[in-house]
């Protein structure tokens, strides 16, 4: 219970920090986002009233009437009401609506790809670490290379080879545009088909980290006394591998999930751009190029919220599989 409270407290602080960063960044940096935004807004045919101006000033700074602390309070209140302003690149849709439409795509893509990469990487890492010094060790430099490849470059190469030369997969988009989005087999099949290349990119680029981490832990776990004991008892090698070595070696990989996820999220933002995937990464970049500051901040907040949520879930799972963390 204490562990749960501590974790919840930490993630609450982390989310508050992200909210505050979001508040501080536009106020600290040069440029006048509110004027740029309002100019664009009136170009789209919106009526800019003093109220609109005030609403954006609370979000982005430049409000001269209110003091900074009171701006901060209004900003937090607006966020908790779910009011993130109006997007200009998707005018007149509110920011929350744009995010709501693109978030499921990214969550499905990153979620599925990360789970596959983690499972495969840990499994392969356990096998490679189990027999150090054999040919399997030659996978280490190969995976080091994979881990150092930039995500977006890997997707360029995959598109070139699998889509342009071999013509196996579509190079762009998230689904066949003739279909209407909906929960039917045809559409889901098309989404899976279009999502294969982006997912393959993420799996290939992130599997190296999992594999290397697991392998190194496996190698040092194998020199532990309890593994020697298990072997001396004459247990089948498979049991020793699964129940004695791998079980303990996997803990740091799970504990390091936060770092891995941060890398994957960063990488997939750029990957989505290459594939014009209808996810949140493309929205973020479209927002940046269109000076759509409200959408930019909203997307950043939602990405952070999703990452924090995933980390919280993994942390709670970690508390379950490693009793030592709860005892502290």
């Amino acid at each position: 219970m204490n562990y749960l409270l501590r974790k919840l407290g930490f993630y609450a602080v982390a989310f508050w920090a992200a909210l505050t960063l979001n508040f501080v960044i536009p106020r600290l940096l040069p440029g006048d986002p509110v004027d740029i935004l309002l100019a664009k807004l009136s170009q789209r045919g919106a009526v800019v009233t003093p109220e609109t101006r005030k609403a954006y000033a609370t979000l982005l700074g430049g409000d001269t009437d209110a003091s900074l602390p009171s701006q901060y309070v209004t900003y937090l209140a607006n966020i908790f009401k779910g009011d993130l302003g109006t997007s200009i690149s998707y005018f007149p849709a509110p920011v929350t609506e744009v995010i709501g439409a693109s978030m499921p795509w990214t969550m499905a893509l990153i979620g599925i790809a990360t789970v596959i990469a983690a499972l495969l990487g840990v499994l392969l890492g356990a096998l490679v670490g189990w027999k150090p010094g054999t040919w399997l060790d030659s996978m280490v430099p190969a995976t080091t290379l994979l881990a150092a490849v930039p995500y977006f470059w890997l997707s360029l190469v995959l598109v070139y080879v699998l889509s342009r030369v071999l013509n196996l997969f579509p190079a762009q988009g998230g689904y066949d545009v003739v279909l209407d989005p909906g929960w039917n087999t045809e559409f889901i099949g098309s989404a899976l088909y279009y999502g294969f290349l982006p997912a393959l990119t993420i799996v290939l680029a992130s599997i190296g980290g999992w594999l290397l981490g697991m392998r190194n832990m496996m190698v040092s776990t194998l020199s532990e006394d309890y593994v020697l004991t298990a072997r001396a008892k004459g247990l089948p090698a498979r049991w020793v591998l699964r129940d004695y070595a791998a079980r303990n070696a996997v803990l740091p990989s799970v504990a390091g999930f936060a770092i891995s996820l941060a890398f994957v999220v960063s990488g997939s933002v750029v990957t989505e751009q290459v594939f014009s995937y209808p996810g949140i990464g493309s929205r973020l970049l479209a927002a940046v190029t269109n000076n759509d500051y409200a959408l930019m901040q909203g997307v950043f907040l939602f990405i952070t919220l999703a990452v924090l949520g995933a980390n919280l879930v993994v942390d709670l799972l970690y508390g379950l599989i490693d009793p030592r963390t709860r005892a502290r």
């Binding site: 960044i25 040919w135 030659s138 490849v149 470059w153 936060a258 941060a262 940046v288 901040q297 950043f300």
Partner: protein, 324 residues
Amino acid sequence: MTDTQSVPAAGATGAPAPAPAPRPAPAWRALLPTMTPWLATGLTLVLGICLFGLVGPLLVGDPDAIRDVGLQPPSGELWLGTTQTGQDVLAQLAHATRGSLQIGFLVGVLATVLSAFFGIYGAYVGGAADEAFSLLTNVFLVIPGLPLVIVISGFVPRESRGLWTIAVVLALTSWAASARVLRAQTLSVRNREYVAASKLAGERSWRVIVVEILPNLLPVLASQFVFAVIAAVLGEAGLSFLGLGASGSATLGTMLFYAQNGFALPLGAWWWFAPPGLLIALLGTGLSLVNFSIDEIVNPKLKNVRLHRRRTRTAARAARKEHR
């Protein structure tokens, strides 16, 4: 694979020489990594790419010179072909490598300094400062870095987005993981007797940190620096690829940005987009391989595992030979 691993290493590891009464290796030797094939590969890659970035730009022609032969595949005259506007890809690659190395090094130094401050100082002082620093570190660790960098770059107007701005932003978002590692190491060094003795002798805290603690952390710092350089080169490439990098800079990321926007992919100009990414990947691989060797200094257990494995292999081979 097993052979390539053991044979060249045998000469360099300082294995007991046949000479009578070998002198014990000097103490500083323990701070240098053992030469293994992996380290040799890594160093070759890193030094080769650094040399290419330093000397290459002097040897190649003007990277921006436009020719009337656009999108030429590699040939004897232009080794890596030309871009859409007929610029020499090899010349661009040399200049871009220099740019990427420059920003990688800059960010590496900045991020290491930041992580050293938050990791070492916090752990040394302890108490509330440590709690606060470690909370800050953990918060920065879970907030996704690249989206934050993108948001910051989005707010900075294009004309004021210089090399230093990008370097500082990248450093600010990438120091946290190293700080956590350094904190853990400092906590274990802090409570040793010689540190306590130095404190009792009335040394000021900066002197205790710099003279007593820091030398023990040098290998960790080195490995974190190498990691920071890899992360910086990758991060900068991603940012520049999105067109959000430092304005007027030429890095491997901007090369990929121009390749993507010049339709290198639909036109099938692989020689335009493949080399920059491959260079990034090779640089990253080289640095990681160097880091494996530094890790052996940080954690001597790893070295013992490797030496033990080699002994087992040699024994197994000898047994096989006898058997025949």
